[in-house]
Symmetry: C2
Subunit: 240 residues, 2 copies
Amino acid sequence: MDKRKIEVCFTPALLPIYDISNAIVVVIDIFRATSSICYGIENGAAAIIPVATVEECKSYEIDGFLLAAERDGKVVEGFDFGNSPFAYAEDKVKDKTIVLTTTNGTYAIDESKKTAFQVIIGSFLNLDAICNYLKSQDKDVFLLCAGWKNKFNLEDTLFAGAVVHHLKNEDYYLDDSSISADDLYNIAKHDLEAYTAKTSHSERLKKLGIEEDIKFCLNVNIATTIPVLEGNKLVKLILN
Amino acid sequence: MDKRKIEVCFTPALLPIYDISNAIVVVIDIFRATSSICYGIENGAAAIIPVATVEECKSYEIDGFLLAAERDGKVVEGFDFGNSPFAYAEDKVKDKTIVLTTTNGTYAIDESKKTAFQVIIGSFLNLDAICNYLKSQDKDVFLLCAGWKNKFNLEDTLFAGAVVHHLKNEDYYLDDSSISADDLYNIAKHDLEAYTAKTSHSERLKKLGIEEDIKFCLNVNIATTIPVLEGNKLVKLILN
């Protein structure tokens, strides 16, 4: 194997300056889109279709499809649900197809699928599964933080750092943002909840009354599956 | 005073998503443009004119102007010098006007001057002077890292973190990137040289044989002046 590289991209706004054609892109939106997607696929959802706009989401109003739309942390009126992970429990999503649009997460998926070798979905819930998969592949790693409205956010960076932390002994080339994310994760890893509590985003989510969601999204390794983008659908990655 | 905010912008590519109209922008390009600018103004340069292109720099070829051009870490052929801080010593620059173009630094100055309340130049050389000035002003603080070709870099982030570290007890609102920069500075502050040695940029600069420049740029508080943009010129900020 040639030396692979790990890059961390702090916001989708910076995607155009990277070449991701040989990379597996891990899309990260910890609070809460990608945590919920991982939980939904883990719980047997047949597929999750990420779409960019609320209108597009509505256009999928076909019998049996669940429609999920979140904007600014709230469920959009008239939709089944938003991106609270608790809405993606087994009794709600098993064998269902969900169409989902969120403020930051689906935008990042949409942008990266244009040029990436492969797009998968990461969260603390499936951290080990993600890391083991990446190690096994002869590909660069591109950790794409969804951020908040194109700005850097800390919780997505921490997860990126967790991945770097688990991969770095495998002889990857690390860029400066990977080094930083790893160092921040090292500060935070013993108490992710306390560390993320000081972020602006966490403050905003608290005001929305979703502390339980936040706590849930910081559970590490309660899922073993990886959502992968096939065509326009996120489905369970089948490992050879 | 209303509560002021501190924001750290990791690359000029993200500038368009911020409102900096009420902010003092501190432009940061530690290796080496802003360190050299601070050193030059400290050493009595009459003015430093940052320009975007090598061609524009050449157009200032008038008797008595020093022309400085750097691309990819090297002095451009046919120019007096690039952005090594040692070229900005007193015997070389006192009372002179320097026209300067660099890979990352002058681009950041150029972009921010369009909308900022004020643009000043920061480096470890004048850290305390910068912090004391910002504290005394009823303005937001916007720490603009020049980065490397629009990507995040660690040494600029560390200096941003140093400023946050010195201001944060003054009741500013900190965004997530400020919190992160501060935490990274806390890891690095006891040995900036060792910490920055692990960055990609430092590796690149080492290959150029400019380790002495790098070491010099990590000197803390050897300058007491602040370069400020007035029109298209950087001059010494006069404090009231």
